[in-house]
Symmetry: C2
Subunit: 121 residues, 2 copies
């Protein structure tokens, strides 16, 4: 396997555990849109139309489905302000959204570095 063999390796049980846990994570936050929606909500884009404007290329139908998934997983909260006229619906971050901060930081940093590597900056 050459001289560049890394120290980094998983044992077989660790491999299985990692496969399952990364699968669990990707099932919930993988795909093209979910993390982008979380980023936009955390930034303070809380209205449906605002989210659709901020997240380039997402259709209303897909955004609606993705928001439902994220809500089911506790990653955003749908709030209906029925005291306002017309009624206002907002999607806001929750206590639990915060658990994604490290994931977003790590993925974002890797994305920046990878783009530099591929494009030569």
């Amino acid at each position: 396997m050459g001289n560049k063999e890394q120290k980094w390796a998983y044992s077989e049980p660790e491999c299985i555990k990692r496969l399952l846990s990364v699968e669990d994570a990707m099932y919930v936050i993988g795909g093209k849109w979910k993390l982008k929606i979380v980023i936009a909500v955390v930034t303070g884009h809380n209205r449906f139309n605002e989210l659709q404007r901020t997240i380039k290329g997402i259709s209303a139908r897909v955004l609606s489905n993705e928001l439902k998934d994220l809500e089911e997983n506790g990653l955003i909260q749908r709030v209906v302000h029925s005291d306002r006229m017309p009624v206002v619906v907002e999607y806001i971050k929750t206590e639990y959204t915060k658990t994604l901060k490290d994931v977003l930081d790590t993925l974002g940093d890797w994305g920046i570095k990878h783009k530099k590597k591929i494009t030569g900056k």
Copy 2:
């Protein structure tokens, strides 16, 4: 927005930067299979059939395509041992694969915690 407002927030320029960098990352390592293949290769599953056995549910065609994508991005290396009979092909980790360690750790940890949250352990 209630009393549970978090300190964690992105400014608008930071939001745009994050959206793009997370998109870049997910483009390369998002989806159902790519990180699972990386985990299996890092563990030492280096032959095609071995990878297919380890990664439950992946078809030969998809595995083949995913391996090509990962190779193009420098995340695995395809090595042909033409000195052996029959010729042996191996997929091995590279120096660059190591840059994914933090991503895998962070995502895996989040996946474990999230599963505990959803299933109540």
